[in-house]
């Protein structure tokens, strides 16, 4: 569980230096334990191992010469990922004050420069918020599947006030639905009780015994899209074909 948390911190962290230090500490602890799953960071040593596997599967011709090229590429990419910037910088108020003062003095940090360039670009091109953004894999996201009507989504800007307004409406709608569902469930229970009361005497004890047999495990769970006909047969065939080969680690 600690390892998962590490990877999520790595991906979502802002450029705040104190948080970076914390994540490094957590990373070290995990590597001591010996399991190295789920890390967002690409270490140079690990990269070598993995690149071997991928070339094994794909091009068998990769010899010694190509390996060093790959390693250099990976290291450069790793560096870029570690120093990757965020679209909007998250700064606490004190830090903002410091930035303003430094600007007066004429010292502008690289990050501040980037921010100013981004703002200029946005002012020119517009923020691009008109059409709804696609969340998740394209084709399987909620809008293109017809789960949400794209036109009836209320318009909003990415500001704190709009955020608060949207949050209140969201909470209102969901709470209303929740309460309606609770009501319906209590009604169901009431009807059941009344039905049991209305049973003739010799049938009541049988009805009052709770049925503890587990419900069937193959009960279908609702999913985003309905099951495709004939798909599971394809999967079974493919699995049978590949079960003969050895597993590549």
């Amino acid at each position: 569980m600690g390892m998962l948390r590490v990877s999520s911190i790595k991906r979502l962290t802002g450029s705040d230096s104190s948080i970076k230090k914390l994540s490094h500490q957590l990373l070290q602890r995990c590597s001591v334990s010996g399991t190295a799953k789920g890390k967002g960071k690409v270490k140079a040593g690990q990269a070598l191992k993995r690149s071997k596997v991928s070339t094994k599967k794909g091009s068998d011709g990769g010899g010694g010469g190509r390996k060093t090229g790959l390693v250099a590429e990976l290291e450069e990419m790793a560096k870029k990922c570690l120093t990757a910037p965020t679209p909007i910088r998250f700064l606490k108020p004190k830090q903002r004050e410091r930035e303003a003062e430094r600007e007066k003095l004429g010292l502008i940090s690289k990050e501040r420069q980037r921010e100013m360039e981004m703002l200029k670009k946005q002012a020119k091109e517009g923020t691009g918020f008109e059409k709804p953004a696609i969340i998740g894999t394209s084709g399987l996201d909620l809008i293109s599947l017809g789960l949400v009507d794209a036109d009836s989504i209320p318009k909003y800007e990415l500001t704190v006030e709009d955020g608060r307004r949207l949050a209140k409406e969201y909470s209102r709608v969901l709470m209303r639905k929740h309460r309606a569902r609770q009501k319906a469930e209590t009604t169901l229970l009431r009807l059941k009780k009344e039905a049991i009361e209305a049973l003739p005497e010799h049938l009541k004890p049988a009805a009052l015994v709770p049925d503890l047999t587990p419900f069937p495990a193959n009960r279908f769970m609702a999913t985003l899209t309905p099951p495709i006909e004939g798909y599971i047969d394809k999967i079974r065939e493919a699995a049978e074909k590949t079960s003969g080969k050895e597993k590549l680690r």
Binding site: R11, L12, G14, E73, M77, K80, C81, A84, P85, T86, P87, I88, F129, I135, L142, G146, L147, V148, I153, P154, L158, G163, L166, A167, E169, V173, E185, L188, L191, K192, E194, A195, I196, A198, L199, P200, A206, A207, L208, P210, D211, F215, P216, N218, R219, F220, A222, T223, L224, T225, P226, P227, I228, E229, Y231, K234, I235, A238, A239, T242
Partner: protein, 229 residues
């Protein structure tokens, strides 16, 4: 015998014995509310989606943008042994478009209920209770008589989920004692079956809750309470 009033339909309950073997003059009928749980998740309120989108975008602003080569590398590595391209099946099936109520594919995000019936009366599958062990067994046999076999059904619980008492209309020729028909509903669900062979009845129909109200307009309130969604 009980003396309280249960539902608005029950006006009075007289407890005098008739010449039949049952000790009361009530006819007890076990009927089955046979339903199929929804196959796709329901539509999402646009307000809810707007908030989720807003929060997603807001968080994205503060996340690091990794260079594109990182994602290409990730994609090329992560494939399994076999890849099958698939097109997700549409949420609105042809059965929906043609409103074909006999096929189980109707309205994937409602929960259809089965009401087989003769002409012209539509009703839930039911059976009059005669000396069996429990009412649930009676209900199971009711469903069996319609479906043929019960391997694809699951009865929820031992107790009925609701009951109605129907007063038969008094006619001049009807000199037999007042027979109140008490109908107890049992809930059962379809398990792992796409097409059910519903034979042994004249016609059958899978309906959602709204359509059910068309078939039984006078009991609309009761049905609303009994069936959620």
């Amino acid at each position: 015998m009980q003396s309280k009033c249960m539902t608005p339909l029950l006006r009075s309950l007289r407890a005098f014995s008739s010449s039949s073997s049952t000790t009361s003059s009530d006819k007890i009928v076990a009927s089955v509310l046979f339903e199929r749980l929804p196959v796709v998740i329901p539509k999402i309120d646009p307000v809810v989606y707007a908030f989720q989108e807003f929060s997603f975008r807001w968080k994205q602003q503060y996340r690091r943008t990794y260079p594109d080569e990182f994602f290409k590398k990730y994609e090329s590595r992560g494939k399994g042994d076999y890849q099958i391209d698939y097109v997700p099946a549409p949420r609105i099936t042809e059965a929906d478009k043609t409103n074909d109520r006999r096929r189980l594919y109707l309205l994937l995000h409602g929960t259809p209920h089965a009401t087989p019936g003769g002409k012209p009366v539509w009703h839930f599958p039911e059976k009059v209770y005669e000396n069996e062990d429990t009412l649930r067994k009676c209900a199971e046999s009711a469903l069996k008589s319609v479906l043929g076999d019960l391997s694809n059904t699951y009865f929820v619980g031992n107790a009925p989920m609701a009951h109605v008492a129907v007063q038969p209309t008094e006619t001049a020729h009807d000199l037999s004692p007042f027979k109140v028909i008490k109908r107890f509903f049992f809930k059962s669900q379809v398990i792992a079956a796409n097409k059910l062979n519903i034979s042994k009845c004249d016609d059958f129909v899978w309906v959602t809750k709204d359509e059910l109200l068309e078939y039984f307009p006078e009991q609309a309130e009761f049905l609303n309470q009994m069936i959620i969604s």
